[in-house]
Symmetry: C2
Subunit: 617 residues, 2 copies
């Protein structure tokens, strides 16, 4: 059928009806070609470098690649035990409502594939524009492979816009035949969500030295607890007298069969102030865990599901070993075991690649965002309240070398109410570049991400970190702090060359916050005790949260001067005046890149219509 | 050429390259057909009920009709002295930048028509989607007629969305040949703007009674002053003993040749408190104008350029004459004479159609919005500051009859900073219906507009009027008041049956405003005298307008209780407690109707792709 030919049609001028019928014929021909093409194609495994299991049993396995020239993602979905089809798609935060879905369904006889969307009630609808483009389908011994393509941006208002940062993938399994897409009842499906960074940066791998060695920091064959969530802590140590090395790369080591259970892993270095740390191998929240392990918080390596190996840029490495650095390391593994498997053994961890031939620069980690203080608070019942932390020009002027620093990776961090995190670089009052942005940030998916482009930061630049919080489920204010129900707004940026600046963060001036409490007190008719001896959290908890008090708090944070923490370490500030600093003024904002749409064919082609009027004059 | 025929092509299956070449042939064929069609069509004059001159000389005359089923406007543009083409289009407020334009241009040999847009610098670009669709072009003795069509909404982001309310039309004349659209230099064009209500409501004309009489209130052959702007005042009077009648319709009487000069006209009835009013015929701002004419402010009829006859609904008429009503009328004509014509004589005015056979109901006029008081103020330098006036449930509960009232027309009113006005009806805390909305409101174009649908208002309903102001060109606060540089926010709604409620307006509670002044005083480090003996405008003028003070004023207006004016006349309130009333709570907002786009053809047709996988299970 593919080989059948007909003479090319040459139609110099046609009547309208003929043109219309011809068009329909063309469409029909396209469809036939497509179905034929589907039978012929064979997915190539090597083309999909990124892979995650979608479900905890690993029955659905997603591989993908990213084409930046095409601005599209190619997906390969392996369905190990296909029943009557499945849903795969994306939504804002992993919900099944308002989702953008590719659906494969069978009525028991025939199978269909289509691009669909679910409304706010979860009802499925066929998309008027089909943007999950099926490229192939193939049966193999391990299951059915579906191959499809999706542009980052489709301009269909029902479609999800694929952006940098976290993407919440959802899946659902059809266990019964369905006669149409509309007949699928989403609430009755067996399904779930998986978070990934879909748009992996396209980075070339630096050359690795000859003398590279490896070291595995792995769990010692532990039994994964039969509960949904476990943070496992294991203490490892470097050999005595281990000299300074550079970590130049690391990668995950995941025990075969546990791919769907090992959610994320981090290796922390302990504080050099203590000569020794106790051994420990057990849950991080156990009462048996020695107190001192809380001093093992300096990140050496972090991995989360879906991430690949992490490479340092060839000019830099992360120093470890040597004098002034602790020998003790803490491995933390988050096991996610929603099906409560029992007796699974695990030896996962991280393999460090390091060299004694030190690279030109030590890499450093700097904290941007907000100081951990209760003066920065979020009223209850907010769907998207924004807090902003500043690293001011005055601090970078003082602390950065004239040649600047290069940020190459970033790890965003908030506690449970965090929904979005963005850091922007501003110079001379104008926003210049997004350092890292995640509009679908989840506190349950914090990974160190390589930046698409290295960001150069010079003395006098400003780094502004904005966090968006949702407190709709809370009944009292959420204040800043270390507790899990308190909040943070942090971007750990990885950069080189290392400087003394470890922390460049801000908080509102406490005096202005005090004026706010006074104002609330005077303005509202209720009598609230805003006595100065009461703690800041207590004062926040007693505010009656009407629209005025909410609005004025928002305005206060957008107006009041700040207290800057421009610190060498968490306790030592650079010399200078850091209290009551003016907020950075931003006069030029970066424009949101508009969605790039395929040119919409209008009612007439985009060319001037020639008129036969003769000369006008 | 139109008659040439070719055999229909039947192409059961084609290779891709053949399909592509065929598509191009189809496009070419469409173009040929289109040009042929243009030659044949003849515009019908009767099809375009609405007409305005675009330029002050009347060389460009626009007629149009509105098709609500098609959601499109058909334009007929008469160009009396065509040179090398013209631009016609629409923009937010009549500017030539960011405009949506239909362009006819000639390179001296050939002429072209296209849909274009201008960017923020005024540079022209061809639209990728051609939405001004040329339907015909015809030479006639009086000039060239261009006929074209434009959908209200095109979904091309470069296009103007045609909505209810004012539309700013712009035109520009090409006086030299141009070789391409891009070569047109907008800043060098002779051009201008004209405001019209493009989407006239589609209302059937009520039957008119047999005994209908007419009365013309017209200027007595005045010489139009040779200056750009004149408001002309002329006093007329009803015969002595003229009994009560109902005005059931009125229409403009415009002296032939002055169509482009007579901008708008109103007939006011004088206050019944005065037995007589002096004669006057002269400019309204003349020092010679008797003071007492300021008591002639009750609108009987209002017309603005582009408007047609105004018909009262068949159940109601506007009462005039009879005891308790003044015999004196004031005609006000706004002459707009930018070319400073000298010695033009004019006898324009309004023709009232009235009947002695009174209709079942008197029509009434009610003022909604804000009280004229300085407590409602707009900070300087705001591009869109919103003030809201309320007619509360408590007032409508008390003042409206159980059967409710029917609003059938509305006249929006602000002073010079007004940019948008919207009134929404809310019931049980949920917005139900837009009473009248003008998102491109201009204080220079205030006409009484028939509503598309009559709005029924019942006791307990709320009417919320929102005005948006631009004070970017001002250096001090703009307070509410009667002065031309003070502001108002009013919707005069025309309704029946008439009730005692003449005024249902609000303003912020003065006590809360006082707390705001105190707060500003305490919160800002500057020492400002906010002494209580200083007037409210003086206190507003002395505020340092930083972001905090702006934000908090906005929050205050959105939070503080209001003082209600629920009045029988401007001085007499209905009995009840009207101070410190709570703001109406709105829990459900009306959704902005999304633009209705033609379905966008996607990369694949919107149908499921059948897969030949056999049975899945």
């Amino acid at each position: 059928m593919q080989n059948s030919r007909s003479k090319p049609c040459s139609c110099p001028s046609l009547k309208l009806r003929e043109v219309a019928s011809m068009y329909l014929t063309v469409v029909a021909a396209f469809l036939v070609i497509l179905v034929v093409a589907l039978q012929g194609s064979v997915p190539r495994q090597s083309d999909f470098p990124y892979k995650v299991p979608l479900d905890p049993q690993g029955l659905l396995e997603l591989s993908w690649n990213v084409s930046y020239p095409e601005q599209a993602v190619h997906f390969q979905l392996l369905i190990r035990e296909l029943q009557f089809g499945l849903l795969f798609g994306m939504s804002d935060r992993g919900e099944f409502e308002n989702a953008d879905l590719a659906v494969l369904w069978s009525d028991g006889h025939n199978s269909y594939f289509g691009d669909a969307w679910s409304d706010a009630k979860g009802q499925l609808h066929m998309d008027s524009q089909q943007d999950y483009q099926l490229l192939g389908a193939r049966r193999a011994p391990e299951g059915l492979y579906l191959l499809f393509r999706r542009a980052f941006s489709t301009c269909d208002p029902k479609d999800y816009l694929i952006e940098d940062g976290t993407v919440h993938l959802i899946y659902g399994i059809l266990e019964k035949p369905v006669h149409s897409l509309q007949a699928i009842n989403i609430s009755a499906l067996h399904g779930g969500l998986q978070r990934v960074q879909l748009l992996k940066p396209n980075i070339s791998i630096p050359e690795l030295p000859q003398d590279m060695k490896t070291m595995e920091i792995t769990a010692p064959d532990v039994v994964i607890p039969s509960q949904e969530t476990t943070y496992w802590c294991y203490m490892a140590e470097l050999p005595e007298g281990f000299p300074k090395h550079h970590i130049i790369m690391y990668e995950p080591v995941v025990t075969a069969g546990n791919e769907a259970l090992v959610h994320h892993m981090e290796v922390f270095q302990c504080a050099a102030e203590f000569d020794s740390f106790p051994h420990y191998n057990g849950p991080c929240d156990s009462k048996m865990k020695p107190e001192r392990l809380n001093y093992c918080r300096h990140v050496l390596a972090a991995w989360a599901m879906g991430a690949q190996a992490f490479y340092y840029p060839e000019e830099a490495g992360l120093a470890f070993g040597g004098p002034g650095s602790s020998r003790y390391l803490r491995l933390e593994i988050h096991y996610h075991n929603p099906l409560v498997f029992k007796g699974r053994r695990d030896s996962s961890g991280i393999r460090l690649y390091y060299t004694a031939t030190l690279r030109p620069h030590d890499a450093g980690i700097m904290e941007l965002g907000l100081v951990y203080t209760p003066v920065m608070a979020i009223p209850p019942g907010e769907d998207s309240f924004i807090l902003t932390g500043y690293c001011t020009d005055k601090c970078t002027q003082l602390a950065l070398p004239a040649a600047g620093i290069r940020i190459f990776a970033s790890q965003l961090h908030t506690h449970l109410a965090g929904r979005k995190v963005v850091t922007v670089l501003s110079r001379d009052g104008r926003e210049r570049q997004v350092v890292n942005a995640d509009k679908h940030y989840s506190p349950h998916f914090q990974e160190i991400r390589m930046l698409k482009e290295v960001v150069a930061v010079f003395p006098g630049d400003e780094l502004i970190t904005t966090c968006t919080y949702n407190t709709e489920d809370r009944s009292r204010a959420t204040v800043g702090g270390f507790g899990i129900l308190e909040e943070m707004c942090v971007n750990y940026v990885h950069y080189y060359p290392q400087t003394q600046l470890e922390l460049c963060k801000s908080a509102v001036d406490p005096g202005y916050l005090h004026r706010y409490f006074n104002l609330v007190n005077r303005f509202n008719d209720e009598e609230i005790c805003m006595c100065p001896q009461v703690s800041v959290p207590q004062q926040f908890y007693s505010i009656p949260w009407n629209t005025f008090n909410r609005d004025v708090l928002r305005s206060l944070y957008g107006f009041a001067p700040i207290s800057m923490h421009c610190n060498k370490s968490s306790a030592v500030r650079f010399p200078g005046e850091w209290e009551k600093q003016p907020l950075p003024r931003i006069t030029g904002r970066l424009r949101e890149p508009g969605p790039r749409c395929p040119p919409a064919p209008g009612p007439q082609p985009a060319a001037p219509v020639p008129l036969q009027l003769g000369q006008l004059r």
